[in-house]
Amino acid sequence: MKTVGSSRPIHDAWAKAAGYTKYTGDIRLPGMVYLCLVRSTIPHGRVKAVHPEKALALPGVCGVLHCFNTTQRTFNRYRSRFSQDELPNEERAFTDYVRFVGDRVAVVAAESQALAEKAARLVEVEYEELPYSIGFDDTLEGQNCLPGEEPVRDEVILENGTFPQDNGMIEVDSFTELPRLHHAAMEPNACVADYDPYQQQLTLYSPNQAVHGIRVVVANYLEMPFHKVRVVKAAMGGSFGAKQEWFVEPVAALAAKMLGRPVKLVYSRAEAMTGAIVRGAVKACVRGLFTPEGKIKSLDMDLILDAGAYVGNSSDYIRTLYSKLFRCYYVPHARYHARVISSNTPVAGAYRGWSAPEEALILERHLDAAAHKLGMDRVELRRRNVLLPGDIDLRTGVPLEEIRIREALDRGRELFRWNQLKQEDADFNASNERYRRGTGVGCGGHGSTYFPRHDDFGEGWITMNEDGTIQLKITTHDHGCGTVTMLKMVVAEVLDIPDSDVYLAEGDTANTPIDFGCFASRTTFVLGRTAVETAGALKTVLLERAAAIFHQPMEQLYVEGGAVRNRENPNLVWPYAEVARQSMLQLKRNVSAQAQFNNVTNPGVTGAHFAHVEVDTWTGYTRILDYLAVQDIGQAINPAMCEAQIQGAAQMGCGAALREEMVVQKNGQCTSSLSQYHLFLAPDLPDIQVELITDGRSTEGPFGAKSIGEVCYVPAAPAVCGAVNDALGSQLGALPFTPDCVLKYLARERET
């Protein structure tokens, strides 16, 4: 292969390094007004009145929209396709019944951002407060329930396989509690909306993961036909799931339509933290049964997810979490009981990995506990349980194809010097008082498409310009991880041209084909293959046209080096530009094609991460000494970008394990500043090592590729947590393992 498999910067790296790239917050349309939301200051209650008079009195304030002067209609932020009619519409743009500190009550529009913010502070809201709850216990007790409401909003019991009857099984119990997390995409959520009242045409620009999903939600919400709503995916400053649910777009759209002027809504960091979505708080108990040799016989999991103020995606989320149990290990019997509760806290939603990281944290913690109980090495225990090439996903029956998790563990054990490190740590720990070292391993699996949860497909449109360059239209949503470049490379490979000769516009409902969006890690796998098919269709057209124009037998023609050639006669060479032009001049036809790809597989895609840490028992501070990520990726299209993305996942995982936590205080206020939400910075991390296993190729992905963006985050936090527990000889289960948490554990240990 000439292009696929070779590394390069992403398509807009130059413009980003220059500061030239325009993100949504940088857009300024003529006549545009700036929005600032007025948010609930109480966790639960009814809005009695909104007094906008003082705000409206400021010169330059164009309007105040609130729960009493806007539509009663509702929408569902999580909806992403036309067919999800079962999802309840539970949200208004502005509500008179607030369910958390940060719920939207009103919005102020003004001639400048500063003025909008100032005016928003002048809007007075009268509330009637209701009892509220912020944690698992008070919510389960029904403290915030209105008459007739039940604390549990959804509940599910699922089972696969039959309960084992073997003798001599060993029972292992574990408990894990995971806090709310913030995505911390550096660009906060934003939307610019422009409404043309004369053509009733709405245009939305936002960094988002599904232009067609937003169209469904906004068109239904505003009762507009789909062709009158155009959604354009703008440059995205990171998402990690934060930009795949819609709470900015419907609000901006409503405001633009009501005010008759273009509007811009950009969240502050505090709003992105508390007024958008978070990863929901979870706690889970697992009872496992193992053979004395360490084989899993049964897992019984009981889990609670706090959806926060709105149920949103949580019903689907708990079900998906269960399905992740079958993506990495052979689990012959599993029983699962999960409940969703709804407290008065920020809304839970999508987060990188969409429940797989939580599943992995719960299960990997359990396997560490099992290894401890069985006296087995933690890598070895995992080796004995991982899925092997040819296995199937026991939940869905879908083949896992060339899954390579065993190889990932083996390769990692060797590269990381696992056995030697364990010995070195034992010596180190024996010879000093203050510092304790430990190693950890984490495994995780994911998918590469929606299939079989939904049927998945992609569509591509392609045209050759008169100079032989390519216009490609596939609805992609690049988060900054290079999916545009990936698609260009795939097309370039098929047509044997440089990828710089391919132009690809991102998702735009007016200009690119229908697509489900950048969910389920499906972009490389589904859309990459769609690009292969689309380029292949164009190749066929090129050959047919060349045969007709130059009177050649079709079967003698082939493409190479950006030209159609004749196998029998090396002197017959027609550059693409020539074919494109003659096709127009002689045949009066454009060289273009269209293709669809229907996806019917979902191969196993996995990773094994290894962490080596040092815990300071005086300060409780944990330092990451070494980190290795081994990913079973199939073909890496742009390997250096994959590596960079995997290192980013390791950074996020270290954060989730050791630092990151959104704390809700008694009054319902949640962490709303990066000064209290601690992220890993350059000096805190070692050079994260990455190893790609590329021989576990998929059958359907482009050139054998599988997904990477989410699966690489799944094993990260488990590896680091395992290392801390190894260092301390502990079985800590409540994340994150902050210095405080470590010191408390050590103090408890000293007492006993």
């Binding site: 790296a13 500061g19 951002q113 550096m186 906060p188 960091r269 900054g480 960079a644 980013g648 350059a682």
Partner: protein
């Protein structure tokens, strides 16, 4: 107040409130949108610019502090339309993903190299400790700064510099 200062080597005069943030002056009054806002409280570094050669958070720098001083923004590094050494190194080392941290990161690195043309990798990491990148593990970013430092020294001294980079 009347404010006269210098932005990217050009004199600028404007009428503004003394408590207006440099970040807003750049983005709104001067349309220099390469400088980003990620937190508005000095935590993320996305808004970093040079003020008389020092890296500062433009979200915490007010108009009243600016009179007669010289600000360099990311746009000031590539005024001819060509990326400077540091920007190119970020691109070529694959240090750019979503790009939202990139401009601030580059300005922090610029300030470092102005003071210390031969930083160790450790010094680079420390100099970037006020800049959050959520997309990466900082590996390529550190490599990019290291590479730019080497290249700049080559330009300055005509040959690869022997000083190690830790």
């Amino acid at each position: 107040m009347k404010l006269s200062f210098c932005v990217n080597n050009r004199p600028v005069q404007l009428e503004t409130d003394p408590d207006r943030r440099l970040l807003d002056i750049l983005r709104e009054d001067l349309s220099l949108t390469g400088t980003k806002e990620g937190c508005a409280e000095g935590e993320c570094g996305a808004c970093t610019v040079l003020l008389d050669g020092e890296a500062v958070h433009s979200c915490l720098t007010l108009a009243i502090q600016l009179g007669g001083r010289h600000v360099v923004t990311i746009e000031g590094l590539s005024e001819t339309g060509e990326l400077d050494v540091l920007q190119k190194a970020f691109v070529e080392e694959i240090a750019v993903q979503c790009g939202f941290c990139t401009t601030g990161m580059i300005m922090s690195a610029k300030a470092l190299l102005l003071k210390n043309p031969a930083p160790t990798k450790e010094e680079i990491r420390v100099a970037l400790s006020g800049n959050i990148c959520r997309c990466s593990g900082y590996v390529q970013i550190v490599r990019a700064v290291d590479r730019a430092a080497h290249e700049l020294r080559e330009v300055a001294y005509g040959k690869p510099d022997a000083k190690n980079t830790g």
